[in-house]
Symmetry: C2
Amino acid sequence: MSPPSDKPEDPLAAAFFRPVRAGNAFEETVERMLQAIRLGVAAPGTRLPAERDLAVRLGISRVTLREALRALQEAGFVESRRGRYGGTFVRAAPDPPPPPQPAADLAAELADVLTLRAVLEPGAAEQAAARALPPRARRHLRASLDDCATAAPADYRRRDSRLHLAIAEATGAASVTAAVADARTRLNALLDAIPLLPPNIDHSDHQHTAVITAILDGDPPAARAAMTEHLAGTAALLRGFLS
Amino acid sequence: MSPPSDKPEDPLAAAFFRPVRAGNAFEETVERMLQAIRLGVAAPGTRLPAERDLAVRLGISRVTLREALRALQEAGFVESRRGRYGGTFVRAAPDPPPPPQPAADLAAELADVLTLRAVLEPGAAEQAAARALPPRARRHLRASLDDCATAAPADYRRRDSRLHLAIAEATGAASVTAAVADARTRLNALLDAIPLLPPNIDHSDHQHTAVITAILDGDPPAARAAMTEHLAGTAALLRGFLS
DNA sequence: GCGAAATGGACCGCCCTCGAGCCATTGGGG
DNA sequence: CCCCAATGGCTCGAGGGCGGTCCATTTCGC
């Protein structure tokens, strides 16, 4: 009998035989909390949910959650206080060490995340525009746009992230929000390696306005088109700096 | 001091404070392998990678992988043979028990997965059409389309899934393929609850042809439009049967 | 016929994670 | 003033998952 050939290796199989879990529970928890803090979902000064509550939400034991929180505390991201009305609070971020890119297969990561984003975000903008948004969501979109436009350069990326997440959230589908959040986290890791230029900010703000306006006007094609154009700018910028 | 209000509960936070892991390694592995078998990525008769290799790819220990494979074997999905050129082989699927929907928050799940799909798949089709596809990918798309068009009703959904995955794969971005695969798995769980009607199959085949033609012609807007129309049909069908 | 190679099968000791319970601290309300 | 409620801090025993190692089986090539 000749050896059963799995030589050609269906590339599709790679998508299924990929790692089942990203790491141990501790690491994944730290990563998730860091993501929430860096993307500005948990703003400085905010109190995180109580440990007993948060552990249940994250689907981990309180022991493991506490280990993660202790690591974040030692890194200066959060601060804990005991007693009634105590809790774990987000500190004004130190965020000093943007870890240098491993640069191993940076080109592949760049292409992958840009494609993923090009798939997700225009679709999210379109779906958001196609819904009858409740007043609360409309206000949230407007507020996020405003926050972004008035941000100091140091705050820009955090608020930019929040705006994009607000759009994803406006689709009403939690899994869309989760997917956009993951893509955004990967993108931010790449963005940390390149400078933030005022002309780009100005350009982005105009495009943000176009996207939000189209969503609030209930014009899906326009929302999609505006978002696609917006992403093209960032993509070109990243490719220019990292290729 | 008044209690720090986390009453309003930023809905965005829910996307970040969601469970870190879906279950234990054993369960997740069984689920992943079942996904590969049900979606036809691992076809009947195929040999799976050797345990030592597969365990590394899935990022789990061989012990845990073997427990998962043993469960699949007892359920009749795979069969193992020892010795050189032995291995674990996919059996012609029994697939008898489509577990009845929990139906708990079925409406929410339905809305979520349909929105996710509406975001992902038209975007994937558009991105695939925008690329210069290598000959191998073009052949794969044509073959998948043909497989789907000539499928017996019993095989239709498996081949349909493979076609959609082939489109995602054509974007060249592994994370897009992974996201589409996950959405498809959730969708299939819902589709199992409704009948497969010949007119729908015929309708789907025409739409599939339109999507693939647009992709091979390098016409992104047409690919997106054709896929959007295709998804609308399935979405309407599901909403009709499950609402 | 026989050894080498590749595979599934089985076991052991270590560490991570969990669930549960209890302690320590703080501020508000009676 | 004292007790209660809500929070973080801590510990213990049980079970799961891991890395490593060796065994059993089968087939190819010499």
